[in-house]
């Protein structure tokens, strides 16, 4: 891993990092990856779950929920006529 990798990850994760922090991050990541790397050597054959997972669905019907619309709208960092306002996308 090098600084370029850190920059790429930060870009993918949409996080702005300062130059000093990139270096510190690289050092931390290397330390953590060094630790988690121990699973590389673990032999796991025949992983078979003894239980079954099921999807949890709900019927596509309207159900009233106790959300406060005012609280939601009131927290938009930028708004116009009750809608959230964002920079143009295209």
């Amino acid at each position: 891993m090098d600084i370029k990798d850190v920059e790429n990850l930060a870009n993918l994760a949409r996080i702005e990092l300062g130059e000093d922090e990139k270096k510190a991050m690289l050092k931390d990541m290397e330390g953590i990856l060094e630790y988690v790397k121990q699973i590389e050597g673990v032999k796991v054959d025949d992983v078979k779950a003894e239980y079954s997972l099921t999807n949890i669905w709900r019927e596509d019907v309207l159900e009233p929920r106790e959300f406060s619309k005012e609280l939601i709208i009131g927290q938009f960092p930028d708004a116009q006529d009750g809608f959230v306002k964002v920079k143009k996308i295209l």
């Binding site: 990850l9 702005e16 922090e21 796991v44 609280l71 939601i72 927290q75 960092p77």
Partner: protein, 470 residues
Amino acid sequence: MKIDLKNLTIEKAHQDFKSGKYSCRELAGEYLKVIKEKNPEINAYLEIYDDVLKQADIAQEMFKNGVASELTGIPFAIKDIILIKGKISSAGSKILENYKASYDATVIKDLKKVGAVFLGRTNMDEFAMGSSTQTSAYGVTRNPIDLSRVPGGSSGGSAAALAGGMALAALGTETCGSVREPSAFCGLVGLRSTYGAISRQGVIPMGNSLDQVGPFGKNVRDAEIIFNFLSRYDKEDSTSVPDNLRNHVLGGKKIGVPWHLFKEGVDSEVQENFKQSLGKFKKAGYEIVDIELPYCKYSLAVYYIIMPAEVSTNLARFDGIRYGYSVKGESLMDVYKKSRGGGFGKEARRRILLGTYVLSHGYYDAYYNKALNVREKIREEIFNAFKKVDYILTPTVPVLPFKLGEKLDDPVAMYLCDIFSAPANLTGVPSIALPSGTSKDGLPFSIQFMAPYFCESSLFEIGKRFEAIK
């Protein structure tokens, strides 16, 4: 009147409310006094609610009307990650500093129904990422037992509030030890319940396959009362387990000890205390069995792949667009990057990047998929162990509460605090941390039991037994 807060329990307070010894308002008032005196130094609470006495009056009405139950009027400290409608829930992060919850979490809704009193929201590691409550954007919390030391984390504020006599009960959350570890550091009982036992609806998520709400208690009975009340199926939480699948058997007397997991890396004092505790169980008629959990050795490594992966996904929702910290920018991308860069603290940024890495093309199989497979092996191993023993016993934390500032520059050293916590979170079995004495410097020791799925009642049973024999 002076209420003996130190020896107060939930049952005792309930009796006193019923007999009219003091009112809900008087008890809440006493706690507010202690908070006013101690919180500026300890920083357990980030905010004391302005309607505490009003809540207490509502609880008092319930007593008057004969509809009160055990938790009516009981003053709670609530971790800053559990939503209370109209109140700020910041998850210890700058990115949510002004976020006001638009609905109540299910656990809050349930507690409100019975008239529990919420004193305030408690400090925590940012987004529950940490083992010492030092990564909060709102300053560190100090351990009430020794102010120069950390209270553990991530639910350190809740633990410090309870241990410091600033609440009678407290709620925290666990992704990997975040209730048990601060319980250990503050001399409390802490429960991580079975995955899916308590609703997570309205709890800001960190790792969805790992998170659980957990109660703190000054004793086992208090934790039991809170758990029994909160544990129920909730259809609004898709990971909540339906009632018909909650089968529990009462534990026997066989305790399994995976000695090989703590041959090294454990403080000698902690090791010594563990052996003493074990001797007490032996004397009380329990059978101690040596067990091998070879895959559990990799628990923490597995956890530090799966959790960041889930973190990077979960925290994608904080984008500076709909709520929370937002920085103006030239373009939409600019808004994202600046808001997330400035809003998230160091540990959150670190874990998001780590999660992005293990999920990225080329590393996915080597890290994430491999971790999932090892996790399955750990689950199988724990499941098989419970065919032979009723409990698994380890120390809760390998070290005693450490000094403020320690381990902050060495993430792996900090992560190792949770080495014994990880198996329960990865497999979903319940686990309880129990105080087991104090060190020569007066710091608390703690041991933890794991039990099979939905066997919390066994954990409470053996916990109470330990209270009697220690």
